[in-house]
Symmetry: C3
Subunit: 456 residues, 3 copies
C-alpha cells in the first residue's frame, strides 16, 4: 500500500486514524438499524459525539417526490422457540435474524407454515442473510441454512416484538463551512443493521473525514449526509431542492473497510472534476483499482444522479456491492473490516478532496518563450545532463499549459505527473509572479477545461 504523497501536512491522515475508525465501527456494530427508528437515532447520536451533527426528523406520510415517508419501525425482541421452549433463533444473538420492517407477530405455527417465513443462503450454510421488506407488509426470519436443514416437524413459537407506526424518518447532516458557498457533498447510508463494511465503514469514514477537514483550510464547504438508503436521500433532496445547485462535487461513501482493491464508479456526467480527481489519485497511488462507468443501480448515487439532478457525484468503494461473498450476510463482520483498509480509504478520500481544493486555472504571465527560471533560482546551474529534475519538469508543464484553458488537474493528467507535484510547481511559479489565477468569469472554469490541447 503506497500512500498518496501529499506534501501539505494538513491533508495527511493521522497515523492512528485506522484504529480510531475501526473502534467506531465496533461501537456501532451491535445496533439494529433500519430505514427508520431508534437504531438510526442511536447511530446518529454516536456520530454526534465526533462532529456537530444536526438531526432532522421527517414525519411519516410526508410526500417526497414520488415517494412517501413510511411508518417508523422499531423492534425490541424476536425469536423462534421450538416445542421445548428453547430459543433456536434469537434476535439478541444477531439482529440479522429478523427481516427488517417485519410486522409484529406472536403465534404458534407448524414447520410448514414457518418455512414460508424463513430465508437462508443454501450456498453459504453458516451465514445469516440480510433481508428487508420495507414496502410490503410481511414478517420473516433469516437464519443459517445449516440450522434450517435441522428443523423438524413440531410446533414452533414465533415472536417478533416490533412496532410499525406513524413516527419519523431520521437523518443527520453536518455542514462544514469553507471560504465560499460551493459545496462538496459526502453522503453515506445509515440504515443497515450489524453489517460492518456495508456500511459502518462508510459511517466511520464520513465522520472521521469531517473531523479531519474541519482542521484544514477549505475553499469549499462540505456537506455530510448520514441518511437511510434511497428514502433518506430522496427525502433530503426533496427538502433541499433549491440548494442542490451549490453542490459542485460529491462522493457516496460505502464499502471502505474490506481488504479488496479500490473501485470508482463514475458520476452520470462521466468526466466531472470529481471523477477526474479520484481517478488521478487512484492512478498515482500505485495500487490496483477498477473503474466503472455510471449505472443506475447501487447506492444513493442512483438518486443524486437521477436525470432531474444529474449531480457530479461518484462513489469510491473498495470491493463493490454484491461482488464479495460476505455482502449482506452475517459474515460482513468485524473481521471483514480492518483498520489498515479503513485508513487507506480515508487517505484516498483526502487525496481526492485535496485535488478538488487545490485545482485552479492559471495564466502564464510570461507566455512567449520560457521565462528564465535559472535567474530566479528555479533551475539547476549546470547544463548538459540527459534528464530534467522532476520539479523543473513540473514547472515547465505548468508554464506551457497555463494558457487559461487548462486547470492544474488537466496539466497533471497531461504531464502524467502527480497533482501534488504540479501544485508545488505552481506554488513556486506563483511566488515568482509567473502565474496569475484565472477567475471563472475571466477564463475557462476548471470544470470545463479539457484535457486535450487544441490548436491556437
Amino acid at each position: 500500500m503506497i500512500e498518496p504523497k501529499i506534501s501539505d501536512r494538513n491533508w495527511q491522515p493521522h497515523p492512528d486514524i485506522g484504529e480510531a475508525m475501526y473502534s467506531f465501527v465496533r461501537d456501532l456494530y451491535p445496533i439494529c438499524r433500519s430505514i427508520t427508528g431508534n437504531g438510526v437515532r442511536e447511530t446518529l447520536r454516536m456520530v454526534g459525539r465526533h462532529i456537530p451533527l444536526s438531526i432532522r426528523e421527517v414525519p411519516t406520510g410526508t410526500e417526497v417526490f414520488d415517494w412517501t415517508v413510511p411508518k417508523e419501525w422499531n423492534i425490541r425482541d424476536a425469536y423462534i422457540k421450538d416445542a421445548s421452549g428453547s430459543r433456536i433463533v434469537d434476535f439478541k444473538n444477531s439482529n440479522l435474524h429478523v427481516v427488517s420492517y417485519s410486522l409484529p407477530v406472536h403465534q404458534r405455527i407448524s414447520l410448514i407454515e414457518l418455512k414460508e417465513h424463513l430465508v437462508t443462503l443454501p450456498e453459504k450454510p453458516d451465514w445469516i442473510p440480510y433481508r428487508t421488506s420495507y414496502y410490503k407488509e410481511n414478517w420473516g426470519f433469516c437464519l443459517r441454512h445449516k440450522q434450517y436443514g435441522e428443523l423438524n416437524e413440531q410446533e414452533y413459537e414465533v415472536c417478533i416484538d416490533s412496532t410499525l407506526e406513524d413516527g419519523h424518518l431520521t437523518f443527520g447532516e453536518y455542514l462544514l463551512e469553507g471560504e465560499g458557498p460551493d459545496e462538496i457533498l459526502i453522503s453515506c447510508h445509515v440504515c443497515h443493521p450489524s453489517l460492518c463494511n456495508d456500511n459502518l465503514s462508510g459511517i466511520a469514514l464520513s465522520t472521521m473525514l469531517a473531523q479531519h477537514l474541519s482542521r484544514c483550510p477549505r475553499r469549499y464547504s462540505y456537506r455530510f449526509l448520514f441518511v437511510p438508503g434511497t428514502i433518506g436521500a430522496i427525502t433530503w433532496l426533496a427538502l433541499n431542492e433549491s440548494n442542490v445547485k451549490r453542490i459542485k462535487h460529491g462522493l457516496v461513501v460505502a464499502l471502505v473497510g474490506d481488504s479488496g482493491n479500490f473501485t470508482y464508479k463514475k458520476s452520470r456526467q462521466g468526466s466531472a472534476d470529481v471523477d477526474r480527481a479520484v481517478l488521478h489519485v487512484l492512478k498515482h497511488s500505485g495500487d490496483p483499482y477498477e473503474v466503472f462507468e455510471f449505472s443506475p443501480y447501487g447506492y444513493d448515487e442512483r438518486q443524486y444522479c437521477s436525470p432531474g439532478f444529474n449531480l457530479p457525484i461518484g462513489s469510491l468503494t473498495r470491493t463493490p456491492f454484491g461482488r464479495y461473498p460476505e455482502y449482506h450476510t452475517s459474515a460482513d463482520d468485524l473481521e471483514l473490516v480492518q483498520p489498515g483498509a479503513l485508513a487507506d480509504s480515508l487517505s484516498k478520500y483526502l487525496a481526492s478532496l485535496f485535488v478538488l481544493e487545490k485545482n485552479r486555472v492559471y495564466a502564464n504571465q510570461n507566455p512567449k518563450c520560457e521565462p528564465q527560471l535559472g535567474r530566479r533560482g528555479l533551475y539547476r546551474e549546470m547544463g548538459g545532463f540527459s534528464d530534467g529534475k522532476e520539479i523543473e519538469l513540473a514547472m515547465l508543464w505548468v508554464l506551457n499549459l497555463s494558457d487559461g484553458d487548462h486547470s492544474l488537474l488537466d496539466i497533471a493528467d497531461r504531464a502524467g505527473l502527480p497533482f501534488d507535484l504540479i501544485e508545488q510547481a505552481a506554488g513556486l511559479l506563483r511566488k515568482n509572479d509567473l502565474l496569475s489565477e484565472v477567475s471563472a468569469s475571466q477564463g475557462a472554469d476548471a470544470t470545463k477545461a479539457s484535457i486535450g490541447i487544441e490548436g491556437a
Copy 2:
C-alpha cells in the same frame, strides 16, 4: 446460430422462410441477366409474383447525371464449335460462358485469334469466370482453364447470337407505405447472371423482407429497389432526386446466402442510426461478425453515399465481395447458398429494422430521484439481494437516461443490454405514465442523440 430475441412476434421470421428464399433463388438461377434486357424483365416478373412491384423502363440514351442509359443487350444463343462441329463451349450450359454485353459475332477463326477473346481463371481451372464489357464494345467467352489448356490448333466457329440496340433499362420498385412519410431504402442489384450469392440471395431476401414487413405495423415507409448495379442505382437517383430527402435509413442487400460470418459496411456517415442499429443487433446476436468503415468500392452504396447524396445507407452481407473464392465464378451456385444462412440473414435484417422502428426518445416524467417502482408492481418486494433483475435494471436505465437527449438505442448501447429488453422496459414505464415521447420538434431527434453522457 443464436436468433436475435425479439419478443414482438410480428418481427420474428416464419420458420420455413429459409426454404422459401432458397426455392426462389433456385427459380431465378437459370436466367441470363445483365444490366439491361429480358433477363432483368423476367427476374422482376418473378419478384412481382411475391410483392406488387412497379416496373420502370428507361429509354436508351437517357442522361442520368454523368452517365447515359446504354443500349439494351439481349442474347439467344452462343457457342464455340471445333473443326468437327461439336459445341465445345455452349451458352446453353452456362450463361457465364459469354462476356456480358458481347457484340454479335459469327465467324471462323484460328486458335490464336480465338484466344484473344477467351477469359479463364488459371488458379481455379474448373470454374468459369464471370466477366462483363458494358461500356467497351467487344465480345468474348469465359471458360474453364482446364478446357482452355486442351484447345489445339484448328479452325473454330464462334457464334454469339446477341443484340445490342436502342431499348430500355428496366428496374423494379415497391413502396410499402408506413404511418409516416420517412422512408427506409432497401436496395439490391439484379444484373448478375447465374450467380447465386451475388446476388440472387439479395433478391430473395429483399423480396421476402418486403413480404414480411407488409404484415408488420410500420412507422416508416419502405422503398425496395431491384436495380441493375451502378447504372440502375444512378438512374433511380437521377429520376428521384427530389424524393431522396425522405430516406432516413437504408441498406444495400447482397451476399446473404453463403455460410460465412456477417459483415457490416458502415454508411459514409459512419455513425448513422442504421449503422448503430445493425451493429447493436450483430453484437447481441452472439455470432461472430466483422465491421468495415465505409469505402467507395463495392455495391450501390457507392452511389447512395456519393458526396452529393451522402445517404445513411450501409450494407449488411455475409462474406464480403471478393473475399470468397467462388465470387464471380460458376462456383457461386446453388450449393454455396443455403436455406439456413438465408433465413439467418433475413432475421438479422428484421432485427435491425425492428430497432429502427422502435427507437424513440422519451422524457422521464419523474426525473427527480427514482419513481417508486415497487408500488406500481414493477419492482420485487423483498430487498437485500446482491443483484437486480434484468427487467428492473432495464427500467432503471431507461428512467435514468430518458432526459430527452438519449434514444432507446443510445440507452441500450450505454447499458450493454439488448434493445428488445430496453424497449420492453420502456413499454412498462409508458403504461405507468412514467415516460412521454419527445417529438423531434420538442427535443433531440433520435438521429442526433449521442451515446455519451455529457455534464448537466
Copy 3:
C-alpha cells in the same frame, strides 16, 4: 529501409546525399561551438558555402522577452598539467574537456581543490561528458572517469585561456522564397561542440534540405534557422515576433544521424498538419518508429510551442535525446553518425514536406453518384474482377471525400493509401475537370479539415 515512394522526381534525394551530409559533419566536427563566439561564426560560415545564409549578430545585453543576450565566450586553449608539467587533460585533444562558458583561470591547486571543478561519468569511464555553465559564472573540466581515478595528491596547474566579454550572439537564417507568403520553419541548434549526432547531423540535414528544396517548385516559403539552443530561438522569436504568424508548419531538426528508429514528437497543438504529414510518411515508410505527444522539454520546440506562440512545430529525430548512451558525451562521434542514416532522415523530411506542399482541398465537380471514369479512359474496360486497381480506388476515394471538407491528406489517411498515390489520383481527376480546388475563403482550409466523416 524502405524509401518513401514519391513519384515526383523533384522530391527524391540524390543517391550520394548521405555521403555529402556525412562529409559536412566531419568538416564541422573539430570546431568548439557554444551559444556565442567564434565557433558558431565559423560553423555558419561553412553552412554558407552551401546555401546563401544571412548572419545576424545580436549584441550582449539585448533584452529578448524574459532573457538577456549573454556575454560572448571564446576559448583558445585549456589544460591541466601535473607536477611534472605534462598536460594530462588537454583542450586540444577534445573541446569537451572544458565546461562550456568556463571563466578564464590559470593557477596551481591541490587535488582536493581541483576535484571541485571536475566532472566525470562513473558509469561510462572511457567517455568525456559534455557540460555547460552558461548562466552561472564558474569554470570546470570534464574528463574520463578512468583518468579521474588515477589522479593522485600533487599540485596541478590549471589553465583555461578563455574570454567572457561583451560581444554578440550569432545566428544564421535563410529564407527560400516560394509562391506564397506562408512559411515552413526548419530550425536546428548550432551551439554544441564536437558532438556529431547532437547536432552536426541536424546542421547537415538542414543545409542539404535547403539546397535540395531550392530546386523544387514550392508553394511555401522555407525559413531555415541555425541558432544556438534556447537563447538563440528566444532571440529570433523576440526579433521576429510580428512575422511569426506566417509560419504554417515547422520542424526542429536534431539527432538525425544515428542508426536508431525514427521518433516524432508532436507539436503542442497535437494534430497540426505537420504532425499528420510526418506521421503519414512514417506510417507508410514501413520502418518502425515511435510517436511522442508534445512535452515542454527537449529542443527549441520548447520556445516555438510556448503558449504565447503555440506554433505548429514538431520534431523529427531518430533516437530521442537522453535515450542513447552516447548522448552528450565524447562517444557522440563520427562513428555514431553514418551516411545511410543521414540520407534516410533527409528522405523522410523531404517526403513530409512533399505532403505539406501537395496537400489541397478539392471539391468533386460531379458529386451526385460517381462520374463515369471509363469513358474518360480512367477505368478498366472489362468488369467482374474481384479487386479494384489501386489508382482506380484512389480516384474513387478522392471523388467520394472531396466535398470541400477533406484535404488530400485526410483522404489518404481515411483510405489507408499513401499520399503520393492519392495525389496522383487527384492529378488525373483534375486533368479531367472532375475536381476544382477549394480556396481557403470558399471552403475548409486544409488545417481545419477533420479526418472523421460526419453526417450530412
